[in-house]
């Protein structure tokens, strides 16, 4: 029995190795063929052009970075403020009513967010800013901000609630008000948990594919708030179904996957560092 359990124990490591090896093996050929510099910093992506194809993924990288930053800038303040409200200010009954709603938001499949974004946000952006089409980086940022909100709220709230009660009592005894205590004592005390929630949000935003595939327009432009753009994830998702096996186009998609994998691993390492610090 011991042997069977040991094998099960190692399976997670095996899967991680399998994924890494496969992504590296299948991602390298195209990078080698296009040239690493040309691949990472080329500004033109035109994989279906028969005479002069180009495989530069800088637009995707920048779009992913801008999209994630935008979602964080919008989502994090709202999320943290809501978390403080739920953990410290709201009457228990109200908090108990809001929490299931937040959980529901966290559980809604991403295609549903994409659908609502497509039917509500995109036309609204088109009308408000008087554009030809509303499919844009802005729409994607808004969808992503909404999608990361629930995880930021629930992780931050848990962190805020874990701060020992003595902090509150001490702060109040020294003459700080309830609100000052919440924001100037408890929030800083819970900062590693809150930071973890933000990194988690970054990971979710950079890895999301289906929802933004439905609202971002999917043209390989350099990022611009009202331009139709492609993210690293949507670049893979939008061309995968028709790129033929063995072609440079398909291999280049694997290479994009490899770049995305590197991004995610960096974020994971960061998250682990924050959590480890928290334990100490």
């Amino acid at each position: 029995m011991r042997l069977i359990f040991t094998v099960c124990g190692f399976i997670a490591i095996a899967f991680v190795l399998l994924i890494s090896v496969y992504l590296i093996l299948s991602g390298l050929p195209a990078i080698k063929e296009v040239g690493l510099f040309e691949f990472l910093f080329g500004t033109r992506w035109d994989s279906t052009n028969k005479t002069d194809p180009a495989y530069g993924i800088l637009p995707f990288i920048l779009t992913s970075v801008w999209g994630t930053c935008g979602a964080i800038v919008l989502g994090v303040p709202v999320g943290i403020l809501t978390a403080v409200f739920l953990a410290r200010v709201a009457p228990p009954k109200l908090a108990a009513a809001v929490r299931p709603a937040v959980d529901l938001l966290a559980g809604i499949p991403s295609v549903v967010y994409g659908l609502v974004g497509m039917m509500v946000l995109v036309p609204a952006i088109k009308d408000i800013f008087d554009l030809k089409a509303g499919d844009s980086l802005l729409a994607a940022i808004l969808v992503l901000a909404v999608m990361i909100l629930p995880s930021i709220i629930s992780v931050s709230e848990t962190a805020l609630k874990a701060v020992p009660k003595e902090y509150t009592e001490g702060s109040l005894a020294l003459g700080a008000t309830e609100l000052e205590t919440s924001f100037k004592v408890i929030l800083p005390a819970a900062r590693s948990g809150v930071a973890a929630s933000v990194v988690l949000g970054v990971g979710r935003a950079i890895g999301e594919a289906m929802a933004i595939l439905m609202v971002a327009g999917n043209s390989p432009n350099m990022p611009g708030l009202f331009k139709s753009v492609k993210f690293l994830t949507t670049a893979i998702a939008s061309e995968m179904s028709y790129a033929s096996v063995g072609s440079l186009q398909r291999n280049a998609l694997y290479s994009i996957g490899l770049v995305l994998f590197v991004f995610i691993m960096l974020i994971n390492v960061l998250l682990n560092m924050i959590l480890k610090k928290d334990k100490e």
Binding site: A12, S26, A101, V111, V112, M118, L179, L253, G257
Partner: protein
């Protein structure tokens, strides 16, 4: 203590600057909380408003028919159930086994930490990368083609961390006295795990399953590329049925309706079904979690 935060007494006697800070911060906080609530209500309300009119018994229990011009999502429901069952049947033994190894057998701390790090890493990998790897490994290398089975196998890798983590938590919560008692009575390790430890951790394992089901129901990217997008009926028990059938689950069907067939009302109706499923899964997870906790306190 919490109610005093809203009484105006709080800021009485404070300097002007401190009072201004209170006004700004409090306004920002209430606005954010109100926004979150409005967002949740608005989203749910909008989906229900658009989707409920198209829902009918017929929509849920028939397949689409071009002749009659009717739509139905029975195939998508069947495919979803199939993927959930196959994934759970494979991932449960693996995940529970890994958790048992980590908590009961493993003695090397380094090794345990490595396995836990690997689990965390798996949990952080976005689904589009699982889709890529699933396509390469299961569809092409293992020659399964674009089938529900390939999709389920990919989802096994994806849901493994959830199962391992929740099982591990509940195994850790089994009191050491139980194990010592069993060992003292002469039970071997496997006997003890089988008769004492696992039954005590059952509620935690159930919670893990429910969370995994939630992840499977919500997943779309993986299934689009590994399990296919067909919305017609599968013959599960016919020629090579269970292994060879492919098709869209509910989320994929939603995507197909919205993005490729421009049948938005159908898409919203599927969204309502998904919303209800999510709600049920959340409630079930909470109930199972509560039971597990009560057991711990006992």
């Amino acid at each position: 203590m919490q109610t005093t935060a809203t009484t105006p007494l709080e800021t009485r006697g404070l300097s002007g600057r401190r009072r201004a800070w209170h006004t700004v911060v409090r306004a920002a906080m209430y606005l954010s909380a109100a926004f979150t609530c409005a967002l949740a209500l608005g989203l749910i309300g909008y989906i229900l408003w658009r989707g409920v009119p198209g829902l009918s018994w017929e929509f849920l229990t028939t397949q689409e028919s071009i002749l009659k011009g009717t739509d139905g999502i029975l195939p998508a429901i069947q495919n979803t159930i199939y993927v959930i069952l196959v994934t759970l049947v494979i991932v449960l033994p693996l995940g529970v086994g890994a958790a048992v190894y980590l908590t009961e057998y493993a003695t090397n701390r380094r090794l345990t930490e490595t396995i836990e790090f690997a689990t965390e890493t798996l949990a952080g990998i976005p689904s589009i990368l699982y889709a890529l790897v699933g396509m390469l490994v299961f569809c092409q290398f293992c020659n399964l083609g674009t089938t529900l089975l390939a999709g389920s196998l990919t989802l096994v890798i994806m849901t493994l961390p959830t199962i391992i983590r929740t099982t591990q938590e509940s195994l850790k919560a089994v009191p050491a006295g139980y194990r010592e008692g069993a060992a003292g009575l002469g039970a071997g390790r496997w006997h003890m795990i089988r008769t004492i430890v696992l039954p005590c951790a059952l509620d935690g394992i159930v919670t893990g399953c429910i969370l995994a089901v939630g992840r499977i129901v919500g997943e779309s990217a993986v299934l689009i590329f590994t399990a296919g997008m067909s919305t017609s009926m599968q013959n599960f028990f016919g020629n090579g049925g269970l292994v060879k059938s492919s098709g869209a689950t509910l989320t994929v069907a939603l995507y197909v309706y919205a993005k490729e067939r421009y049948k938005y009302d159908n898409a919203f109706s599927v969204a309502v079904v998904l919303l209800v499923l999510t709600l049920l899964i959340n409630l079930a997870a909470k109930a199972a979690g509560k039971r597990a906790k009560r057991k711990e306190e006992r």
